[in-house]
Symmetry: C4
Subunit: 194 residues, 4 copies
């Protein structure tokens, strides 16, 4: 019961975040194709953030699939993750409207970093609640993606002030390593599910 | 579990898209009936997009009804479909505010075309995951609507620069062929459901 | 399955409509209590529309509770109802910002009337799908509220151009007759539920 | 059925409220880090309101967990609670944009007070519907948090006109006493759940 409501609430919040982001794509005043040109960076940053939120939704879904029990701390760690994700439309809009300038690109990374940390905290709390035979712990294995991503963000954030293209490249690269289908949890679950 | 969460998330996103579209109907400043006149094209494009999103929700619902197993690729193909649908409020607003001008009408068709392709990809992935006795494959039959719609969009998009009324007529026509109740899947399911 | 997804989607749309309505309550620029004064009519129309949407959610919930089977026509009749409800934030904002002027008050009634008709159509389709022993038909009885409400709206709409206060009074009165707890369906269900 | 739909609808409304609040964080026009400075009070009030809505979602979830039957009055008492919560984005935005000035800080407290009263009414109705052996009544015990919070708001509201910092401190303090994990209901449920 508790778990399904946690899923439903998280789905709701992520669905709304992913959708209100598109409100930053303001309808242009002109009616020509050229009127769309200034929107290209806004559109590109929308695509990137859509992919990131899709990755979070996907991983969140798999994580809860391997969770049996939801405690009060897990509820709050989940809200903490949703808090940082809720700031993504803001940083996406700021970065897009300023054509990937230094400060907005750095802030975009800061929010991604905080979300990654919040995700890691949530994961640790679920593992702790499951005890030594944690299914989730077995499923994520060494969790190299979860460890590499925040490290890359930490590098990308200051680099934005030197060359924001490097930061963008790092953000795209991190999204790509997650997009590669993650069969770890699916495999671990496959062995024990009825 | 996975399937019901996929449904819930898709429902959430489509419900939000369909509802934030109405935010493009900006409250007019005057208080007379005449103040509503400039909103008529915005309202008409809202009606058209509402019907399209209703069709997508309806078909998506039937498609998942005939799906037993959800894989990682299906999750991403579904997000890909939601991405294109999420751009509908933008193209609707642009088309409505510019009284169905050429470029906005063409872009409206481009987003419909991309959504139709994304839907087709999702359908193919579900069929592939079901193997040779695919229930969905049997249900959709020759899928003439699914094949005709993108072909009509491809014709309508360049025509918008010649006469945007023809494009509009094509968009309305495609919506009408889908509105006719589609009993194919219902019938196929009827035979095997308990 | 179909029914629960229909409920979930309708809940989602009504939840979003009820919440984005509050976006019409624009944050005032001043920081004094007086800065709130111009918002009072917007707030009052928000309260009225919140109650109306609450009534629709409540009745919709009871109606689906007495429904066993969902057909394609029921899905579309439901979307038709949601379409008219989705226009409520627009008419609420226009009426509130123009201090309940004649045309906005009339349009508010038109949208309420169309929603009432759409609700009635949906109800008839469910009853038709249930055959002669329709549980819903027994539950609603003579449905005097459902018949009186559209009649009152039809009277209130033209009256708005003579005195908009009469129209407002009618809208408030209709809301009140629905707010009185409707035990008809609950009673009918109580007899047959396990 | 009724209960799960009540949960789903409440989750939807709270998820939307919590997410549209972030729309008050308007994307700044400059691209420098300094452009973020005016947003700091808006951000801080967003954090406070996010925590409050998280507390309500959490408590609402536990309360319904201890509820077996949903009556018509409970449905309306729940909508009444959602009504006051829906005003939180407005008061949050007004307080943030005016740097925690007196009137906005007082109004923020008024909405918190009304939400607390609405929550209490809902709780009483659920307890009344459960009869003398009410599980919820046992679970909340003496409910000192539920009694202390509105009392503190009543003190904080007029104080805002004397020193708004005291009001803010009270609002933060009330949030903190709720953030401390509330094991009362969990414990009571733990004893009777299968």
């Amino acid at each position: 019961m508790t778990k399904s409501r946690l899923e439903a609430f998280s789905d709701g919040v992520i669905a709304i975040i992913i959708t209100i982001m598109v409100l930053e794509l303001k309808v242009p005043h002109g009616e020509s194709v050229e009127a769309l040109a200034p929107l290209i960076p806004v559109f590109l940053s929308y695509v990137l953030s859509f992919v990131y939120l899709g990755i979070y939704w996907n991983n969140h879904h798999h994580m809860l699939h391997a969770t049996q029990r939801v405690t009060g701390s897990i509820l709050w760690a989940n809200l903490h993750l949703l808090f940082w994700l809720s700031l993504v439309p803001f940083t996406t809009g700021w970065m897009g409207e300023n054509h990937f300038a230094a400060a907005p690109s750095a802030l975009y990374g800061v929010v991604l970093l905080m979300a990654a940390i919040a995700y890691w905290v949530l994961q640790q709390l679920i593992i702790a609640s499951q005890g030594p035979d944690s299914l989730l712990k077995k499923a994520i294995g060494r969790d190299w993606k979860g460890k590499l991503s925040p490290a890359l963000y930490v590098v990308a954030i200051p680099l934005a002030f030197w060359s924001h293209w490097i930061s963008q490249a790092v953000y795209v690269f991190v999204a790509l390593i997650w997009l590669v289908p993650d069969r770890r949890i699916e495999r671990a679950l496959g062995r024990i599910e009825p």
